[in-house]
Every structure is written in structure tokens, then in C-alpha cells.
Symmetry: C2
Subunit: 373 residues, 2 copies
């Protein structure tokens, strides 16, 4: 029997060659993943099959001088998943994150994805996954805009102007080509200005930086939020235009009405149920809620002010036509999206398939014949 195992390695330039930065297609891939999530054809980590993943959590202080301590965005995380449908593979995203990286000229996180055969566990494709991760995160609001935005949306607000929200914009604009105006807001006005300039140049759309958040929001039909976790973002419901689609890729707080007078559409209800379960298991529910995007929603659900998760709408069932999405142009919709390993597996598998077809990447030998059986 031939037991030789080889797998493919893709550098970041390889993933670019394979189209990771070509926006439209990834919205389709992510839409497909949402339908698999709604059907239940996936497994993420843990006994509830829906854990976000497992991190190395650095302590606030340590008696060991070399041990990393807690800092902004500082963590390591492993995110394993199986995804069904045409993907039908397992994989793991593994990354280290540290806000201090940006001072070194490096991205905040450095990520790789490994895709594995579901039967044998053999590696199929290992890849640099910074672009993959930004793309899958950005394509998800693209899916939301396709299904939940007003068809006549004319203005977009980009709240938080880092690489993640830039990716969100790149994807959502493919779904709303009629948009005429973009408002950019960031804690640092220069970042908002830079993104506005880039949008004008790249897309020929009017774009401007807003120095106050309400100014960025007041005319926006589509709002994409992916701001740094360093300073909490607060959004008042009165700042929003009627009929808005507010998409949270990063955390935001707001008055109760922001949530209770909107239709909430979740990325995956079971994931949020798992978050709530983990919050209660942690013994510090409020503390746990404070650290996750859905926290403000879970708090209102616990208080009976918002529909229970099991009675709520997920985008997968909207795509499948099993639950209503937007029913009129006046309703505000909040779309909540957390990172999920299944999207990394989907996009990683897609790149792997393209690499096979196009002969891109480096073949690596695991073994010619396993030394131990």
C-alpha cells in the first residue's frame, strides 16, 4: 500500500494568486456556509459542537519575567471545525494576536489554517491565513447586505477603519453597487480619512471621514461596525436612520432600544447558545458577556426584554427562505456576526481546491512511509 502523504503549503502571495482578495466570490462561499449552519451540517469544538475555540489566556501578571501577560488583543487561539456540504473536511485555524505587533510593522494577528482529511486526519493544505481570515470576516457582512439591506440603500457608514472593516466594505459593496456615499468613522480621524480616500480612488464613490459618530450614522442605510476593542463603542438608537441594516462584526454597546426596537438576525443561534452556556459555566456571567459581541443581547434576553435565542432568526434560514428576513423598508435590522471556524475551513478548502487545479503552492512531504504504525 502506498502510505506516502504529501500536503500543500500556501504562502500569503500564493493565496493572493488564488484569488483570496477577489471580492465577489467569497460572499457566495460564506452564503453557502450559512445554509450549512442552518441545516446543522457542521461541528465546531467542544461537546456542544459550537465552541468558538480554545485560547491561551495570558494572566494579568506573572512571577515569571518571560511569561507573556495580558495586553490589548493579546492571545493565542485554536479554532477547530468540521464543515459538511461540498466541503466535507476538518480544519483548524491557529493564530497569535498582539496589538503591539502594529508597532513592529506586522499585522495585529498572524494566522495559519490547516485543512485535514476528515477520515484519516492527514493534512491536505497548510496556509498563511491573514488574508483568508480578513476575507471570510469581510464576506459575512456581504451576505447580510445581500439578504437584509434595503434594496435602495444609498449610503454606508464604516465604523472602525482598520483592515477588518476595510475587508467588510470591499465585500458588502459588491452587494450594493447602487451606493452613492460612504461615511468613515474611527477613533483616529486620520484612519477614517485614509479609508475615505481609498474608497474614492478605488470605487469612485463619494466618501468622507466623520469626526463624530452620529454624523457618520445619520444618513446611512448600511452600517458596518468593526472597531477596536480598546475603547468601547456606544451607539444610540436615535442616531440611526429608519430602515438601517446595522452589522456588528465587532462589539458595540447601545441603549436598550437599539436592540429591542430592531429585528435581530444572528449568524448562528447555536453558537450564541454556546456562548451563553459558557458564560454561565464561567461563574461570571456579566464579565463573560462584556467580552463578546452578543453580550448586550444576551443581557436583554436574560431580562426578558428580547426574544429568546431559540425563537430568534438566523441568516441561514433567511437564505433558505425558511424564516423572513427584511419584511419592509422601515424596520431596523441588527445583524450579529462572531468569528466561526467553519468559515475558515470553507475558505481554506476553497483555496486548497484552487491550488490543486492551478498547481499553485509548495508540496510538502509528511512521510514516505510512516515510521510508526
Amino acid at each position: 500500500m502506498d502510505n506516502r502523504i504529501e500536503f500543500i503549503y500556501l504562502s500569503e502571495p500564493d493565496t493572493i494568486k488564488l484569488g483570496i482578495m477577489d471580492a465577489p466570490g467569497w460572499v457566495d462561499v460564506c452564503e453557502e456556509v450559512f445554509t450549512l449552519l442552518a441545516k446543522g451540517d457542521y461541528l465546531m469544538g467542544g461537546s456542544n459542537h459550537n465552541s468558538h475555540g480554545m485560547g491561551i489566556i495570558f494572566p494579568k501578571e506573572s512571577p515569571f519575567p518571560n511569561m507573556p501577560v495580558a495586553g490589548p488583543d493579546r492571545r493565542f487561539f485554536a479554532m477547530p471545525a468540521y464543515l459538511g456540504g461540498r466541503f466535507d473536511v476538518c480544519g483548524n485555524k491557529w493564530y497569535g494576536s498582539n496589538a503591539a505587533n502594529t508597532k513592529r510593522g506586522l499585522p495585529r494577528s498572524i494566522l495559519t489554517v490547516l485543512i485535514n482529511d476528515k477520515e484519516t486526519g492527514a493534512p491536505l493544505c497548510h496556509m498563511s491565513a491573514n488574508l483568508l481570515s480578513a476575507t471570510r470576516t469581510g464576506a459575512i457582512p456581504g451576505v447580510a447586505v445581500r439578504h437584509l439591506a434595503r434594496k435602495d440603500s444609498k449610503a454606508v457608514a464604516v465604523v472602525g477603519c482598520g483592515p477588518i472593516n476595510k475587508s467588510c466594505f470591499r465585500h458588502l459593496i459588491t452587494q450594493a453597487p447602487q451606493v452613492e456615499k460612504v461615511f468613515c468613522y474611527d477613533l483616529f480621524i486620520e484612519k477614517a480619512q485614509a479609508l475615505a480616500e481609498w474608497i474614492k480612488k478605488e470605487y469612485g464613490i463619494k466618501a468622507e471621514a466623520a469626526s463624530e459618530l452620529p454624523d457618520a450614522l445619520k444618513d446611512a442605510d448600511i452600517v458596518t461596525v468593526a472597531a477596536s476593542r480598546i475603547k468601547p463603542l456606544h451607539i444610540e438608537s436615535s442616531w440611526l436612520k429608519k430602515g438601517v441594516l446595522l452589522m456588528l462584526t465587532g462589539p458595540a454597546k447601545g441603549d436598550d432600544k437599539l436592540w429591542t426596537e430592531s429585528k435581530i438576525v444572528y449568524d448562528n443561534i447555536k453558537l450564541h447558545e454556546a456562548y451563553v452556556e459558557e458564560a454561565y459555566a464561567s461563574g461570571d456571567v456579566a464579565g463573560y458577556y462584556a467580552g463578546v459581541i452578543g453580550g448586550p443581547l444576551y443581557t436583554l434576553i436574560d431580562q426578558g426584554k428580547l426574544a429568546k435565542l431559540e425563537d430568534s432568526t438566523d441568516i441561514g434560514n433567511v437564505i433558505l427562505g425558511k424564516k423572513p428576513g427584511r419584511t419592509n423598508d422601515e424596520e431596523n435590522i441588527v445583524f450579529v456576526a462572531c468569528g466561526m471556524a467553519v468559515f475558515d475551513v470553507a475558505c481554506g478548502f476553497e483555496l486548497y481546491q484552487r491550488a490543486l487545479k492551478q498547481g499553485v503552492g509548495q508540496k510538502l512531504l509528511l512521510w514516505n512511509e510512516p515510521y510508526l504504525k
Copy 2:
């Protein structure tokens, strides 16, 4: 600034070239890890810093025909860790396991380890880790024999004759060169015979297969247990020789006396505390205990029949001379060792250092300059 990132890839043959199968040295590496565990200079996954890792757990049945379902030894697992001391790196072991692999001529598990810079998260070395994993698992009983076995140990029993216990034997025998006789026991006598033949040939030590477990145990001063989880192994205390060192790398059950009349030495008390914590959080304590090596001990501790974990002995403190190990030749000692990601990180780092020095492995480009910052 030069932001080019490269890392090293090591195939299984590369890891052999770098000495992964050269037994004596890895016992020293693992001994070093135990002292770091005792000092607390490490972080594994989760908020308790001591989780074994996070798995994809396959369901017993699935409505999706392609979805993997539960089977013998079938799982995927991510095991992240930071390890201090001279290692001072992060890393993750990621593997898929499936007993059916052996029918395909493949090892039961296929494993890789990725070692990362603790500050930036950048990958340093990705490697085939089947041999690494077998070596770190085998070297741990080597450390136990060094510190806990009778100095005049003459006979060894190998209970379970698969690749893991073969690795255990390869390492422990370096610490007990005076051994004159080895008894091999396995559910399948042919496997026991094959291991006995190999030991005779490789080490020139008398070795024989025992068809009954008590026969294998009755004269053994050192017992290494790493049997398949498929059929539970039962050991009666009366079958053991006085003064034995019984080392559990895999699960075993026994009468209460097996545990209560032995001195228990743990690999890492905090890990076992985390297992107990996770068992209680799972809502099915007995079910959880049944699946882990320490289960029979935790049950007796809960019943008040065995010393609490916090009052127990760990091998790291024995090595450091802070807790007594063996105090006389009559006491029975049970050493309990579970897999820990810190050992993978330690051995992975050691291979990475050797690869740098010896120029072994393949350099892989992550990026010349990160496309997104």
C-alpha cells in the same frame, strides 16, 4: 523595516535526522518540563490555564451521510500551550485520530505541531509530529522510572504492546539498564510476542509474552500501561509485586486498594484539578471520569478514600526535591500521566533549535511583506 517572515517545515524523516528517535535525551527534556510545571511557568488552554485542549467530538449518529460519526479513537484535537524556562514559546498540536486508519496502513493518529513566537504569533516551525508525540509520551515514564522506581528493579511489564508503549519502553529502559527481564502483555498475544522479540533483539534482554495479565505483573518492579481504550483494562492490587512502580500512560481500572494502598504521584496536579472542574461543569461527572486516566482516582478522592489533589504529590516537586518521592523499597507507587500540550511544545522547540543549528528542514515563506497590516 524588514517584515519578511519565514518558518521551517520538518517532515517525519527530518525529525528522525534531528534525533527524535534517539531515546536518552528526551527524558531530560521531559524532566525539565516537569520542573516548569511544578513551578507554574507554563500556560495551557482555557481560563484555568490547564485544559488538555479542544476537540471536534463526532456525534453518535448524524442525519448527514457524510458527517463523521463517533468511532473507536475517532476525534480531532487542538492542544495549545505556552511553555516558559529556556523554551519560552507558544505552540499548538493538532491531530486527527481514527482507529480505522490502521486498516489503511496508517498510524491511528496523524499529528502536526506548530511552534510560534510568543510575542508576535509568527510561526517558527511546523512539523510532522507522530514521532514527536510518541517520543514525548514515552519519555515521561522514563522520567518516572528515573525518580520513582526501585533502584534494583530487575523486571519490567509492558501492558499494551502498541507503538506508544513501545516508545515508553525505549525511554524507560535508558533509566533502568540493570533490568534483566521483560514481560509483554496485550489483548492480542501476537502483538505481545512481536514486542518481546523486538526487545530481545534490540536490547539483548530476556523478554516473553504473557497470555494472562497476572503472569505479566507478578515479578515486575516496573509496570508501564498504555493499552487500547477499546477494552477496559482491569488490574487487581494483589497481582502486583511489593514495591512496584505502576505507570499509567493509558487508562486502567482496579480494586480500591490498587489506589488507596499506593502512593499516587501525578504528572501535574493542576491539570487533574482542571479535569475534575470540567467533569463537574459537564453535568455528567461519572461519564466524564470514565473517559479520563485519572477517573478512578477522582472517584476515590470524591468519596474521601484518597488524599485530595491539592495535598498530593506531583513528580515536578519530587524532581525539585521539594516533595518526597520513593521513601522505601516496599511502597507501591502509581504514576499517572496524561497528555499535555507543554510536552509537545518542549519537544517541538527542541527540534526547531536543532533544525536551525543543523540546517535541516525546508524554509517556507509566510510573506515578504504583509499585504494587510
